[in-house]
């Protein structure tokens, strides 16, 4: 029998065979650690397919590990001291094969211990830090190890939506949408990765004084109550930038767009009022307050179709209004305007609107422990609970949000944040880097020394009655994010509004001021209730009701001739017609059937 040979692939290309693949892979690793091979080579042995894969491609994501040999980390105590004394650096360790970078392929081959005391005989690698097996987003959160596991993916999603200082040069940028927090703060409790990555330069939140209490039902089911005075002082205030842009396009045939105020005879002219804020060049001035429907960039385009030649020679050139106006539901002040040229040498204009978003009912907030909630009430400071020392919380969080979700990290952050804010310190909350009991003891002690309860509980007084609450209330300081989902950008109502041309039914979607769909299941619900008139109102009167004249003789649709003052049927010439209310969709259906050369006739029951 032929001996099974192990196939070798370099970057996916087959290059040869060896007898023992595992040994071959180990040989490569050994040479790599000795510096005989480049440290950027990764190798893995796939037992199932009996093949060795060597990868040297660019663009592989790689992660550093400490090498473990014979059950001992190669990063010895001696090296640690040298590193602390800055005699050696990280790259020295990489060159010496003490730290090696592994790609996802090679990671399949190893057994990495999370900490030094977990090393066994089989261990091949050691994590540099227990937190290094977590993602960047989770690493910049605090105390994730005290939260339940499912919360982490939610944290990842929510912290990505937070508003902050996303870049310093925001003044020069024309992002389609941008959110800037007025007074971003660095968190009182942060993590090692947060410091290493210098995330505080782009801080995206503020430290809120939070009391864990219910408040007259205004913060039930994940709602939060916010202190109005705190908002007036600038808490969680942000600015929203929205950019509009347009350019002068060239069309085949030498025609071109032009930025200018359209003349009233232009096709699609929006009315004098809409262009009233434009300058002579057709572009709006900075610092103009605009609301929905106002034109920002006036643009005149050539007509969509070529004009027909008339016998009178040159006709007046027709134009089409192609202006950019503020979208429905948006408003603001023109912040700045940029006029430039594109690569195709056409003029381009960008207009940035600014609007200040003050927290209001329905805005969304989240802590770094997947505790998101919307504002249920903005309460006057004098009516909110206050403590003996006169501290009034910024935010009231419902205590019911904690036990079910098991986010103990949230409470830990509250306690430590409170303790640390007494002296203006910062605290560490690196994943797996702390001991919960020690934290509680140390920071509890600071609280106790300063006259607080060591568990963070406080006697709070009801701002409305002045009486102390019967229970002590857990109060602390937590880092809160204001998320980009704000009601003022989501709000949408419609009473009457635009309809579709084809069906005469209301339009769909927020940009078109659309209605909410009354779908098939909703229809069935009304049928089930036997509410026939309500159903008719929804589906006909409030939708696409039309009145049509129908011939009693031939059953075809006719019309009412207001000149002769009689109804007329064009099919049979009769004037015995009757006006009926039907849905416009049905009229369209009748028309479509007629277009197929089928004659649908409407019969009337004997009167």
């Amino acid at each position: 029998m032929v001996e099974q040979q192990c196939t070798i692939y370099i970057n996916g290309r087959q290059v040869g065979f060896v007898k023992d693949g595992a040994a071959f892979a180990n040989e490569i690793r050994k040479n790599r650690r000795q510096g005989l091979l480049s440290g950027e080579i990764n190798v893995s042995y796939v037992r199932k397919l009996n093949e060795v894969r060597v990868l040297t491609d660019r663009g592989r994501a790689r992660k550093p590990y400490l090498v473990v040999e014979d059950g001992k980390s190669k990063f010895t105590e001696e090296l640690r001291k040298k590193l602390q004394a800055k005699e050696i650096d990280f790259n020295y360790l990489v060159r010496r094969g003490i730290i090696e970078y592994l790609d996802s392929e090679e990671e399949e081959d190893i057994l990495a211990a999370i900490s030094e005391d977990k090393i066994t005989e089989k261990t091949t690698h050691l994590e540099i830090d227990p937190a290094s097996n977590l993602s960047i987003v989770i690493n910049s959160a605090v105390f994730p190890e005290y939260n339940s596991i499912g919360r982490h993916s939610l944290i990842s999603n929510q912290s990505k939506q937070s508003q902050g200082l996303y870049t310093i040069n925001f003044k020069n940028r024309y992002d389609a949408r941008a959110y800037l927090l007025y007074y971003p703060q660095q968190p009182l409790v942060n993590s090692s990765a947060y410091r290493q990555l210098k995330v505080k330069r782009h801080a995206a939140g503020q430290n809120f004084v939070v009391a864990l209490t219910t408040y007259y039902g205004y913060n039930m089911k994940d709602a939060v109550v916010i202190n109005r005075s705190a908002i007036d002082r600038g808490l969680a205030r942000s600015v929203y930038y929205k950019s509009y842009s347009d350019e002068e396009r060239r069309y085949p045939g030498g025609q071109q767009d032009k930025f200018s105020i359209p003349t009233p005879n232009a096709d699609g002219y929006k009315g004098e009022h809409a262009y009233s804020k434009l300058n002579e060049d057709g572009i709006i001035e900075p610092d103009t307050a605009v609301t929905e429907g106002d034109v920002l960039i006036g643009k005149v385009s050539p007509p969509r179709f070529l004009e027909e030649q008339t016998s009178f020679g040159i006709t007046e050139e027709k134009t089409r209004d192609n202006s950019v106006s503020v979208r429905t539901g948006e408003e603001g002040i023109v912040d700045s305007i940029a006029i430039s040229e594109t690569l195709g040498a056409t003029k381009i204009v960008k207009v940035r609107l600014r609007s200040i978003k003050i927290p209001e009912n329905g805005d969304k907030f989240a802590s770094r422990h997947a505790q998101k909630g919307v504002v249920g009430l903005i309460e006057n400071q004098e009516d909110m609970p206050f403590s003996e020392s006169g501290i009034v919380p910024d935010l009231l969080l419902n205590p019911h949000s904690l036990p079910g979700r098991m986010t103990a990290g949230h409470m830990l952050e509250m306690l430590i944040g409170k303790s640390v804010s007494i002296h203006g310190d910062l605290a560490d909350g690196t994943p797996f880097g702390t001991n919960g009991k020690e934290l509680m003891d140390n920071y509890g002690k600071i609280l106790e020394e300063n006259g607080f309860d060591k568990f963070g509980d406080e006697v709070l007084y009801d701002g409305r009655t002045g009486e102390a609450f019967k229970a002590k209330i857990f109060t602390g300081v937590v880092y809160y994010n204001r998320l980009t989902k704000m009601v003022s950008l989501q709000l949408q109502v419609r009473g009457r509004g635009p309809v579709q041309i084809l069906t005469h039914q209301p339009t769909e979607g927020k940009p078109r001021r659309g209605g909410l769909r009354f779908g098939e299941m909703e229809r069935d619900a009304l049928v089930g209730h036997g509410a026939s008139l309500l159903l008719k109102e929804r589906l006909l009167d409030q939708s696409d009701k039309t009145s049509v004249w129908i011939c009693k003789d031939c059953g075809d649709t006719g019309y009412y001739d207001y000149i002769k003052n009689r109804a007329t049927c064009l099919t049979c010439g009769s004037s015995a017609l009757r006006e009926v209310d039907i849905s416009y969709a049905f009229k369209v259906l009748l028309d479509e059937i007629k277009s197929l050369h089928i004659m649908p006739r409407v019969k009337f029951r004997e009167e």
């Binding site: 049928v527 026939s532 039907i582 089928i598």
Partner: protein
């Protein structure tokens, strides 16, 4: 009592069909997630849950897991031996079920088989019985020599004795029933809580067993509405659909009033044969062109309506919603029922008073 009864009457114009659909459909969404399986004797009930309901409602011609419950006649209900005897009478045993070895010899077109003793005993058969059953076969010669039965093909349908043809024949012989009723499949004995025995067969062959002695003809139960309809008629089929729907829903731990499943069963069997809930069944036989066109295959219905000059009486729900009329359900069924002449009399009376 009778007053109470009237309180539970359905009001005129109630949209019973829609309510039934919603009442079955809503818990049905939960059943999708519940992959429920029961182990044990009743393991032959494997198609449960939503697939089974879809099977019933779609009126599939034969169920995926056919099943019959056969009860012995009343005097034998608690006599185990009698039931075993009945089982032997019914259960289909194929030749291959009792084979130990079979060798095919294509040279002289013969197959020699050896029977396995234990298996024969299991089915309470003897070699002699098998032999006599085989000897009834046509076109073969049979010889028994030292417990080896040799079957030699003497006449093959085709002119040529191709190996292929021979093989087909041998396979057919091995699949032949040597006892029991053909097409009845596996039969197991089950016991109710009060100790009476009954048989469960994994097939839908009522007509095959109904004439066998020792069976309680009134109690045969089959889960195939079509087989029930063929043998007992449409009313029995309706009951089968109702019972199967209700059982399936109930085994999933959901309670739906029987009135709703009954509505489905009634609708399906209303036309005298079983119609599915769908475009080939109930919906396809609606008498409104618009209602049919609104559901599926719009063009087909319009073209047919055009060719035959159909008239839509606008009596159902779908067509009235389409054109924008008040629907004929609930508050929409109420009409003014006064005759014009009567109205005149009333107005004459009231004017006299004045």
């Amino acid at each position: 009592m009778s007053e109470n009864k009237n309180n539970f009457r359905v009001a005129p114009g109630e949209a019973v069909g829609t309510i039934a659909a919603q009442s079955i459909g809503e818990p049905g969404t939960q059943m999708v997630l519940k992959a429920f399986h029961q182990a044990g004797v009743k393991s032959n009930l494997t198609v449960v849950g939503l697939p089974r309901i879809i099977e019933l409602v779609d009126a599939r011609k034969s169920p995926k897991e056919p099943l019959m419950r056969i009860w012995p006649q009343k005097s034998d209900l608690k006599k185990f031996e009698k039931v075993v005897e009945l089982k032997r009478k019914l259960e289909e045993v194929k030749l291959r079920d009792v084979l130990e070895k079979s060798e095919e010899n294509f040279k002289n077109a013969s197959m020699s088989i050896t029977l396995k003793k234990e298996k024969l005993e299991n089915y309470s058969l003897t070699e002699r019985e098998v032999y006599s059953r085989l000897s009834k076969l046509e076109g073969v010669e049979i010889s028994n020599e030292n417990h080896i039965i040799t079957i030699k093909i003497t006449k093959l349908r085709g002119v040529e004795r191709s190996i292929r043809d021979m093989r087909v024949r041998f396979i057919n012989i091995r699949n032949m029933a040597i006892s029991g009723i053909e097409g009845i499949g596996k039969v197991t004995i089950d016991q109710t809580e009060d100790g009476s025995f009954y048989l469960v067969a994994t097939s839908n062959n009522i007509s095959g067993i109904i004439d066998i002695d020792g069976i309680d003809k009134d109690r045969i139960y089959c889960n195939d509405p079509f087989e029930v309809m063929r043998v007992f008629g449409i009313e029995a089929a309706r009951n089968t659909i109702l019972r199967e729907l209700d059982d399936t829903i109930r085994t999933n731990g959901i309670t739906v009033s029987v009135r709703h499943s009954g509505m489905v069963a009634d609708t399906m069997t209303f036309y005298g044969n079983i119609k599915s809930i769908g475009r080939h069944g109930v919906i396809g036989s609606k008498n409104s062109v618009f209602a049919r066109a609104a559901y599926e295959e719009t063009v087909k219905h319009f073209i047919n309506a055009c060719v035959f000059g159909e008239t839509d009486p606008l009596s159902g729900v779908a067509e009235n919603i389409l054109i924008g009329k008040q629907i004929n359900v609930g508050t929409g069924v109420v009409r003014l029922g006064i005759k014009k002449e009567e109205l005149k009399k009333i107005s004459a009376k009231s004017s006299k008073k004045e």
